[in-house]
Every structure is written in C-alpha cells, then in structure tokens.
C-alpha cells in the first residue's frame, strides 16, 4: 500500500479523499474469517438449530415433524414448567443474596490486618477451587438424615435433626447452603480487590468530620465498592441461573419435583425423555428469561456507575 493511497494525494494533484475505514475493511476482511467461522459454528448455528428444533416434534429414535408453535403452547400450559421457572428464580435469589452478603462481610474482615491473614484468606477461598460434582457428592454424604455428619453435629448440640435435601420444604435452602459455601469466596475475592483499590482520603476527611466506623462503611466504602459489588452480582446471578451439577448430583430435582429447576427439567426432557423439540423450546424461553435478567442487571450497573 502506498502512502498516497491513504491520503488521497497523487503526483501533487488533489483528488477526493477516499474513506480510510472502507479501505481497511476491504483489505483486511479476510482476517475476520477464522473468528467469524468460530462464532457461526459455536454460537450462531447452535442457536438457529435450536430454534429450528423448537418448532418440530422430534423424539430421538422417531420421525421429525413440523409443529409450528405447538411446543411453546404446551410449554406455557405445562404446570411443571411454571413451577420450574418459579423454583429457578427462588433458588437464584437465595443463591445470589447469601453469598453476596457473606462475601462482602468476609472481604471487609479480610481487608483488615491481623496475624496469619494470608493463611486465613487462602483457607477461605479453598471451597471455590473444588470441583462442583466432587463437592456435591461429599455434601450428599453429609446430608444423610441418619448417618450424615451434619445431623450428628445438630443432635450433639441438643438440636433436632434436619431432613436437609430429603424434604421438599428444606431442599432449596439446603442446596443454597452448598452454593453459598462454594461461591462466597469468589464474591469475597472480587470485593477484596475493590477494597484494596479504594482511596484513603475520604476516610481521613470523614474521621476529621467525626464519622464513626459504621458511617464510614455505609457512606464511603459501600458506594465506592458498588461497581465491584455489581460485577460480582452479575457473575453470581449467571452462575446461579445455570446451576445444574450441584442440584443434579445431590437431588436429581427431588424429592418429587421440589428442586426441579429449569435446567433439571430441560435435562430430563432432552436426555432422559429424548424430547428434543420440546427441550429446545424450553431453551429458547430460558434464554429469554436470562436476557431479561441480564438487561436488568446491566441497568443496575449503569445506575451504580452514575451514582
């Protein structure tokens, strides 16, 4: 490429300048091909194929037929799907709020200087490093109503035993307990990073103005930490929405359907009942729910930035 080509000047004669961007686009278009192929193959094609399947009645091993919106109509009249949506939202709410609250508190604690702080921080983040399936299997053993260590601890303390995941009324909170144990360290790490980057001037000014510790936390630390908290909120929400391994290994959606979230129902329809068409419709609707939640979170994030 000559220099003149870019400036639009050739042999001292002024010619109309051609847009630079257009030239670049034309010359380097080939470079985006590998990325475009990957995006089309792993994102666009699966999505188009999922949409295609969602308007078909297709059971593995059987014939495939076009059914229009029938899968969606069935889905919205399916009581079990409705409950799965509510359960997913309930589980997500709890599995986001509990680690967020505990993670922020832990970050504030670990931000202070105390002996063996490094060791304590390392121990605290250990759960996050464990494989979810292995974690779930260990918790399953601990939840055993007669032989699990948790009920042994409760009864040793003179407290009544709990049915944990073996009762419809306690299964969701118990699964949230596992999620909280597993993912609070992640929130703590993000918020701890935020705390380390906070300026010290506002605290000095607040001290001169006579603010106490709580007031400094409430009016300085929390607002300054808000972008970090929102980031961890987004990550936790996405994680909680897609939670599958822990629930599947521990309860398989039971007792009955008491812990059957959208992911579990989707798995059953696709890989136990082999109803690929119906399962695809669930995927599409679940995606719409996630988009709505993501938009809400992004709106929250922009509000936090403005604040």
């Amino acid at each position: 490429m000559s220099a003149s080509a870019g400036t639009g000047v050739a042999g001292g004669v002024a010619t109309p300048a051609r847009p630079l961007r257009r030239n670049y686009a034309r010359r380097y278009a080939g470079f985006i091909v590998p990325a475009a192929v990957v995006v089309v193959a792993v994102i666009v094609f699966p999505w188009v194929f999922t949409l295609y399947m969602s308007v078909h009645d297709w059971k593995i091993g059987g014939a495939r037929s076009y059914v229009g919106l029938e899968n969606y109509i069935t889905l919205f009249s399916d009581e079990r799907f409705g409950w799965a949506v509510l359960r997913t939202l309930w589980f997500t709410l709890l599995a986001v709020v509990a680690p967020m609250v505990l993670g922020v508190l832990a970050a504030v604690c670990f931000h202070r200087k105390f002996p063996l702080r490094g060791v304590a921080r390392t121990i605290f983040i250990l759960p996050m490093m464990a494989t979810p399936v292995a974690v779930a299997l260990v918790w399953t053993m601990m939840f055993h109503p007669q032989l699990g260590v948790l009920n042994w601890i409760l009864t040793s303390l003179g407290l009544p035993p709990s049915a944990w995941v073996y009762d419809a009324s306690t299964v969701i909170p118990t699964l949230v307990l596992v999620e909280t144990w597993h993912w609070t360290p992640l929130v703590m790490l993000i918020v701890l990073g935020g705390l380390a980057s906070l300026p010290t001037d506002p605290y000095e000014a607040a001290k001169i103005d006579g603010a106490n510790g709580w007031q400094a936390f409430r009016h300085i630390t929390l607002p300054l930490l808000m972008p970090f908290i929102v980031v961890s909120l987004i990550i936790r929400t996405i994680d909680a929405l897609k939670a599958f391994d822990t629930i599947f290994v521990i309860t398989q959606g039971g007792p009955g359907t008491a812990s059957e979230t959208i992911n579990i129902l989707l798995y059953l329809q696709a890989f136990a009942f082999y109803q690929m068409g119906y399962a695809s419709a669930i995927v599409v609707v679940f995606f719409a729910i996630i988009i709505l939640l993501a938009l809400a979170l992004l709106w929250t994030r922009s509000r936090a930035r403005i604040a």
Binding site: I60, L147, A168, G254, F273
Partner: protein, 436 residues
C-alpha cells in the same frame, strides 16, 4: 484377590478344557488384526470383563478399545450415538428395562439369530440353551428378533437384618401384606431403627412400587394392548402398601433415597428390610463397609394377593446394525457372556448371570463367601421373576410421572387422585409413542 482369581480359575477349569477342545474346531482367529470398540456400563460386571479382556485379545487376535461409563450417562450416550446413525461402538451394553423397546423399534441393533445359527460364526461351546429361558425371553423383541444377547438378570429380593428380626421375635413375612406388619413391629424411631428402607426418589421408586404391583391379580402396569393400568384398584393397593411402608416404617428423609442411600442405611444396621436388586449384595457382606456382614438374610419376595413374582430387570449386549465390525463384535459378545465370565459374575457377587450353568455349580456355591441362602434366594427368584417395568418406549417418562405421584403420596396426598392425575398425564405420551 489372588486367592479368588485362583478359585475362579479352578472352578472354571472344566469349562476351560471344554473351551480349548472346541477352539480346535472353531476358528476364533478369523478376524485377527481387526479392532473393535466396546461401550460398557460401569459396574462390577464390566470391571470383570475389562480385567480379563486380554484373554479375548489373545484368543482372537482382535484388539479391543473399551469404555466403561456410569449407568445414567451410558444410557443417554448410547441412544444419542445410535440416533446419529454412526455409533462409535461395535458392542454395547444395554439396560433392557429402560432401552429395550426404543432400540427394538428403531432396529438399531442386529438380529443375532442368524449369527447363532451360523457354525462358522458361533463357537460350538457357545451353548445357547444354557442361557436362562426368562433372560432370553426378556431380551427378545415383540417381533421375535433377538437383537441383544442376555448378560445379566437382576432379581429384586428382600435383604433382611436377622439380628433385628431375632431381637423382636419377628418372622420373615410370608405375604406382601406381612411386610408391612413385620416392618411396623420392627420400627423403633427412639433407637434410630426402622423396619423398612426403600427407594423414595422419583423415578427410582417405581421399581419398588412395581414389586408390589406384580403381586396383584393385575400384575402389569400396561396391558397387552398398550392401555395404562395405573389407576386401577390393584394399582391403588400397591400404592397403599408402598405409602404405608415409606411413611410409617422407613427412616425420615426416605422420600429422597435412591438405592445407594438405602444400601448405606441398611448396611449400617438402621433398617430391618430392604427390597432391591440382587446385584447390591456384595458390599453388605464386606466387613470393612458393612456393620451387618454375616447377619444378612436374603429373602425371596413373598407372594401378593394375586401372583407370586419378583421384579426382573436386566442387561444385554447389542451389536449396532451400523457397525462395520459385526463379525469381531459377535465374537466379543460370545466371549463376554461365555461360561467362564458368567461364573466370574456369580462367584464375585457381581450379580445373577444370564446363563444357568453357574447356578448349578455346587463347588462355586460352597466356596463362595456368600451364604448358601443367597444362592437359594437367587435361584428361587429366577423361577418367579417377572418384568417390573412395562416394555414401552417412553419408560423413563413413565417412571418419572408415576414416581412424582408416589413421592406426593409419601407427602400425604390422596393416593387415588394422584394415580389418576399421573395416569391422565402419561396416557397421551404413551398413545403418541405407540402411534410411532
């Protein structure tokens, strides 16, 4: 371990000698140099086959690539691979009680009858008559095709804790109704002891419910003309017995128990009776894992008001129609279910073999660490075995829908209305499936 290997080898010696004799007349090496892929379900039986795979490779010169996958994942993988039209395996382990009808209707696996009838393809010591009639009938499709070779039959028996029965002076139940009477008498929550433990987790719980239903006059959950029979008086009776046992005699939390939680509870001496597959016996007699080793009774399921049966489940080996190595694959299927391997299943407590010869091997029975009672129970159960699940394509949906109803019943819901609701929910699924 070495002792057991030596013992099995000694017990199998006559079969080995016979096998060597037959081998001289049959060309086991006609496919030497070829390679096959085998997909097995992870269990004690596949472990035995994998351990002895070299025997097959040395006998035939065929190289074997094997995988062993947990049951649930294996079932999904197998179906998805078959549906792709080009499965990666040449031999596959199939759960008959789950996938038989699906695989049979799609004609995914090859009919083995022509291969069995072909003396150039089937070893003279194959002895097809040695396979139990029940096992062969179970593996045979409604159109008469034998599209899988029986490997293992799982009978549902009652494991009972002799010490707990003796302590309370309770006798082993003589009828299905008496299970409840005995369990009730043996339940003492203040001591953390319960008369009963059984599957409560939806889907898994259907096998227990079926154990009661097959004792009724009706016996089946789906009629021969594919009509659902799950809200009848007999179905209500089976559900009532199931619910009473689970609500009044089982440990708290049983509603979420699968077989593994039941096994743990029973092996730790917390429950007096457990009705489940005979293949779960081995850990109960393992002193390092079980507190009741040597105290376990093995009881045949007692008769119900209409029939005397025990639930029959099983697995078999199939060869995909799409396989390019059907010959070597058939050689593998013959080897995997030969008398020696089936005896290995038997002596290692890995489950009831599909062949009858191990059950007649008195020396193996005498030298086993399982009590004589275990083998008697197994042989007697084989005589009264009856398929526990209906042979329909959407069997997993059947288990799921009825399973949810059963958990609702344990939670206190009305039995008849739950059965009606589940039947109404599943009927269109079955009808659609039968329309193809």
């Amino acid at each position: 371990m070495k002792r057991r290997t030596l013992l099995t080898a000694t017990l199998a010696a006559p079969a080995l000698v016979e096998s060597v004799g037959a081998q001289q007349a049959f060309d086991w090496r006609r496919f030497r140099g070829e390679k096959i892929e085998v997909s097995l379900t992870a269990n004690p039986r596949s472990q035995l086959l994998l351990r002895h795979q070299k025997e097959f490779e040395e006998l035939t010169g065929i190289r074997v690539g094997s995988e062993s996958i947990p049951e649930q994942q294996s079932r999904q993988k197998v179906v998805i691979e078959f549906a792709s039209g080009r499965p990666s395996f040449d031999v596959v382990g199939i759960s008959l009680h789950v996938s038989k009808r699906l695989i049979g209707r799609a004609k995914w696996t090859t009919d083995l009858r022509p291969l069995i009838a072909d003396p150039t393809m089937t070893s003279p010591d194959f002895d097809f008559d040695d396979y139990g009639k029940g096992a062969v009938a179970y593996a045979t499709q409604p159109d008469g095709r034998l599209d899988t070779l029986p490997e293992f039959t799982d009978y549902h028996i009652i494991y009972w804790n002799k010490e707990m029965f003796d302590a309370k002076g309770v006798a082993y139940p003589r009828t299905l109704e008496e299970i409840y009477t005995a369990a009730k008498a043996l339940t003492d929550p203040s001591k953390g002891q319960y008369g009963w433990v059984g599957r409560g987790l939806k889907n898994a719980n259907i096998t227990l419910w079926a154990a009661f239903l097959i004792g009724t006059k009706q016996r089946d959950s789906v009629s021969s003309d594919m009509k659902l029979l799950t809200d009848t008086d007999d179905a209500v009776w089976a559900s009532e017995l199931y619910t009473k046992l689970m609500r009044e005699c089982a440990p708290p939390g049983s509603i979420g128990f699968n077989w593994n939680e039941c096994q743990t509870t029973f092996s730790q001496g917390r429950a007096a009776m457990w009705l489940d597959g005979v293949g779960f016996a081995a850990p109960l007699e393992d002193k390092t894992k079980s507190r009741i080793a040597g105290k376990v009774g093995y009881g045949v399921a007692p008769p119900g008001p209409g029939h005397h049966h025990c639930g029959l489940y099983g697995s078999s080996f199939g060869i995909p129609e799409a396989s390019r190595n059907r010959g070597p694959a058939w050689f593998y299927a013959q080897w995997a279910t030969n008398k020696i391997n089936q005896l290995r299943y038997f002596t290692n407590g890995a489950g009831a073999p599909a062949r009858q010869s191990p059950l007649r091997n008195e020396e193996a029975i005498r030298s086993s660490h399982f009590p004589r009672e275990f083998f008697d129970c197994l042989i007697e159960s084989g005589r009264i075995a009856y398929p526990g699940l209906p042979e329909i394509v959407p069997v997993t949906e059947f288990r799921d829908t009825l399973g949810v109803a059963l958990t609702n019943m344990i939670g206190g819901a009305d039995i008849r209305s739950e059965l009606r609701k589940a039947t109404d929910a599943f009927r269109p699924v079955l009808e659609k499936s039968e329309q193809g």
